[in-house]
Structures are given as structure tokens and as C-alpha cells.
Symmetry: C2
Subunit: 306 residues, 2 copies
């Protein structure tokens, strides 16, 4: 089943202590779409300027990503520059140029309107709501968010949260949104705001998945990596893989299926950070994902007592 994915499309400049690269394909939609496309047909919604490199369009096309919802308008594409420090966990935004993204009004093509799955990637909640309102019969809608929307547009964000099936956010954001120190309390509290499921990402420490029903709780570790090159887009790749997996079969949406979706997202994100931008994904296959899944299971499962 197809998935509508909306968010930002950017040209990134990324600096780490070892490397520095320019004009990289970036943005929440880009990462999430490439990841989701491993499992489901993707219908992309986004905006770029006329300077957007052809090779990036071709990457989307090579994954059969539907670009009917991609607006190409006169002007420059959204640009972001950031720097990571020695541990690759701390990040500083060096510059942001919104350019054509500033006045983005997503208009879904007719061919997207009956799509059952949607990922409202990290973008202003008002824009996420605009997309949600255009969908005629959404079956499962996932929203991602970040600190600036909690800080600046909380009312719209709460409206959005009350209407989606699943919210994804990180640990600091979950604490900021709820005022709870305990992530368990925060996750349960956010479930009370509307969504059936909440995923709280803990960066290199994995992810907690909460469901509304009693006993619906999953603690997923991160896949331990020896070499990380560029953490940009890890969260978007996680969200994209998760939604793509959910849309990949018509089997019932159980908590067990949600857990597997979280693991798929985790595995895809672990590959993605092994190279800059989406470079690792260029050669990554479903068989690679399966292999790391099995490896992840081997290294994190344990037996019964004694």
C-alpha cells in the first residue's frame, strides 16, 4: 500500500571532525522517502527550487518514488548547514536559508488523496495539518516533530497530535512537551493526548515504543556501530522505514507489527549514518536489512533463567 510523505527537501552542508561535504541531498522528506521506498510505494510531497540537482531527482526516480507532489518553483532550494563535534552526538546549526520552502503550501495531487498511510515528516504543524486534511481516508498517520514546534506553535502541534495514530519525537522533546523527567511517564502521557502509539527516540541509545493498551511497551536498543560518519537524517530514516514497513503488508496493525516496524527503522537508520547524506543507501539492499536484523537480534536477545 502507498505512503504519502511530506516534509522538507534540502541541500545540506555537513561538517564533521573528519570530513566536510556540500550540496548533499537532505531534508526530512528525502531521508524518509528513500527509507520507506525499501518497503512500500512512496508518494512524495515537497518543494525545491530550480537549482535542485538533477541527480537528486534521479535518485528518487530510481526508487520509483512518485514525484507528482514535488513542486519545482523559481528560486533556490532550502539550504541547511551543520557541524558535528567529536562524539558525533552534539550538533550545531551553522546556517539555515529557507528560500522556496518558506512559503510551502502542500497541494496533494488527486492520485494521492485516497492513500491510506502517511508520514507527516518534521515540518510546521500547520503544514502537517494541511496535508492531513487533504487525505480522504487515512488508515494510519504518523507525525514527526521537533523542539521548535513545541516551543513556538504548541497549540497547532497539540491539535495535530490529537489527530494522528502515532507520534515520533526524541527524549528531550518528549520531556519538553510533557514536563516529565521520566520517559515512561512522558510516553504514557503523550498517548493520552490522542495517538495510539508514541515512539521516543533516544539517539544512539535506541527507542521506546508506547501503545495505549495495557502491556504495550517496547524498549528497542540501537544497533551498535563502530564507525559513524554522518548522523544527519537518522531520525527521518527511522520514521520512513517504520511507516514503509507498516504499509508493506495488509496484515492487521498489531503491537507486534509496530515493534517490527521500529526495528526496521532502527536498522535502516544504522546503515544510513555509515556514510554522508544518503550515500550508504545507494547500494543498500533489502537483503542487507534482513542480515542486520538477524545480527541485531542475535546480539540483543537473551535466554531464560537459570
Amino acid at each position: 500500500m502507498p505512503v504519502v510523505i511530506v516534509g522538507s527537501i534540502a541541500l545540506d552542508h555537513v561538517k564533521t571532525p573528519m570530513e566536510e561535504h556540500s550540496n548533499l541531498l537532505g531534508g526530512s522528506t528525502s531521508y524518509a522517502s528513500i527509507a520507506a521506498a525499501y518497503y512500500a510505494p512512496v508518494q512524495l510531497v515537497g518543494i525545491v527550487g530550480t537549482d535542485f540537482p538533477k541527480q537528486h531527482v534521479e535518485l528518487f526516480q530510481s526508487r520509483s518514488i512518485d514525484l507528482a507532489g514535488l513542486q519545482i518553483v523559481e528560486g533556490k532550494t532550502f539550504r541547511w548547514a551543520g557541524e558535528y563535534f567529536w562524539d558525533l552526538n552534539t550538533r550545531k546549526t551553522l546556517s539555515v536559508e529557507l528560500n522556496v520552502f518558506e512559503h510551502f503550501k502542500p497541494a496533494l495531487p488527486d492520485s494521492y488523496l485516497n492513500t491510506p498511510y502517511a508520514l507527516l515528516g518534521n515540518i510546521a504543524p500547520e503544514v502537517q495539518l494541511q496535508v492531513l486534511e487533504q487525505l480522504k481516508q487515512p488508515k494510519f498517520v504518523v507525525a514527526d516533530t521537533m523542539d521548535i514546534w513545541i516551543e513556538n506553535t504548541k497549540e497547532a502541534l497539540l491539535r495535530l497530535i490529537s489527530r494522528v495514530d502515532m507520534l515520533i519525537l526524541n527524549d528531550a522533546e518528549a520531556r519538553q512537551l510533557t514536563g516529565q523527567t521520566s520517559l515512561i511517564k512522558a510516553g504514557n502521557q503523550i498517548c493520552g493526548m490522542g495517538p495510539k502509539y508514541v515512539a521516543i527516540k533516544k539517539g544512539e541509545h535506541g527507542c521506546l515504543l508506547f501503545g495505549k493498551q495495557p502491556g504495550e511497551f517496547f524498549s528497542c536498543g540501537a544497533y551498535p556501530l563502530e564507525d559513524i560518519h554522518d548522523p544527519t537524517g537518522a531520525g527521518d530514516t527511522f520514521a520512513g522505514g517504520l511507516v514503509g514497513y507498516l504499509a508493506s503488508s495488509e496484515s492487521e496493525l498489531t503491537f507486534e507489527k509496530l515493534k517490527k516496524a521500529v526495528v526496521v527503522g532502527t536498522v535502516l537508520a544504522s546503515y544510513n549514518v555509515e556514510a554522508f547524506s544518503m550515500n550508504r543507501m545507494q547500494s543498500l539492499t533489502r537483503a542487507d536489512v534482513d542480515a542486520r536484523w538477524a545480527q541485531f537480534k542475535r546480539m540483543s536477545h537473551f535466554g531464560d533463567l537459570p
Copy 2:
């Protein structure tokens, strides 16, 4: 099979944003011995002053902990005071009074000399070596350490590491000891210094277990807790539970058994931080440990693809 456990015995003063308590039973030997005693007979090695409260001695006795190696000398017991901040992760030492602990020379009673298992709890490496040298036929020796020994007595620490079967340390200490940012590289490098196994604790984020043999790697999450009251002694409880479990059966020491030992340590530590000092352990049973083990497994294991 019995376990010799050496380290500090302290009277702690602990302050958190919510509570403050004095004259608490503390110290690495105390926490580790109470934890190990859930699984194996413990032979304690330590020193206290004549001010050491009778009720603390009685707690050890209630767990059948052998106190033949406990020196009670004229003077005051080692005292430590610390404060935890709002997230209960950051800790500040407020004061340290070594007292009788300053000149501690562990002398093992004859009844301890042939004991096969030993935990050299966090204490100066020279003292750990003194204990190790007295053991006549150690089968499996685990050492714990901390930043001040890496900083100040690295040569002795390296000598110790080359002679133990397993080293336990935390993430920051593993990085400090090896100069590696990657914990995977750090763990493998420490295995190369001598021990068959290395456990790198990541606080509230779990633990990584490394073995010397190919494929010997285990990533254990932490048991997610809603309410933490006092994190003091979590690492010592973990180490004690781990060694106690290893000593609890004569089955071969395989990597699978080591993994289970790590989970036992994790579960015991998760209970211990639910109350100040060893208060939670007063009522904790093996059945409680079994129940949380099963719960931990349920919340962290996942199925096969698709």
C-alpha cells in the same frame, strides 16, 4: 560455589532533589555482597570502624554473608556524601572521609583462600592485586574500576587488568582507558589487554558485553524504570549480581551464561535504585528477580521479519 568480594564499606549521606538520608549502608563491597548473595555464598572482605552500626552487620548476617574477612578496627568508618541532580544521572561528591579505610590491607582468612570466584570491587588496583595474590586457585575473577585509578594508578591498573578474567567499567572510563571514542573499539581493545570478557556499563542505557572469541558481543538494554530514588551502588549491585550468578552453578562458563549474568546484574540494579541504600533489597526475593527478567525479555525481544 562461594565468591570472595572485596571493596569499600561506607556510611553514606545521599541527597536527591526529593530526599536526603544519612548513615546509609554504602560502599562497593556492601552493594555487591548483598546482590551476589541472591545466588551464591559470599565471603566479604572489608574494613569498618567501631562506629559501624550493628543493624548493617545484621543485614549481612541475614544473607548468610561470611564476615570472617571483615576487619572492625578502632576509629571511624569510611564516609561518603553525595548529591544527585534533577535527572538523577549527574552526581556531585560533597565530601569523602577515608578514616579507617585509608590504611586498609586486606588479609584473607584461611577459609577464603581456595574460593574459586572473586569480585575485586572498585578500590585501588594495588589493593585488588593484594587480594588476587592471596587466592590460591581462582577460577573466575572479575574486577571493577573507576576514573581515579585510570588517572592516578594506571600502571597498577594495567597489571591488574592483564590478570583478571573480566573487567567492568563505565563508558566514560572505557574511553579514558583506551582513547577510543567508539565503545565497540574500546571494548575490543580492552579484551586485548588480558581479560576474556569486558562489560562496559552505559548507566541508564544498559551495558555492552565483549568476549575475546569471534561473535562474542551482547548489547543489553537497561530495564526502563518510571521512578528512580537513589542510583548509588547501581554499578556495584550489577557486578555483584553478575558474579553471584556465575558462581551459582557449575555449568560451563559460556558466553551465553555470561549474557545471563549481565541480565541478572541489570535486573538487580534496577530494583536497587528504586529505594535509598539497600532498602529495596530488604524485601526483594529471587521470585521478584525472575518476574522482572521475564518482563524485561517481553519488553525488549522482537520477532522475525517480515
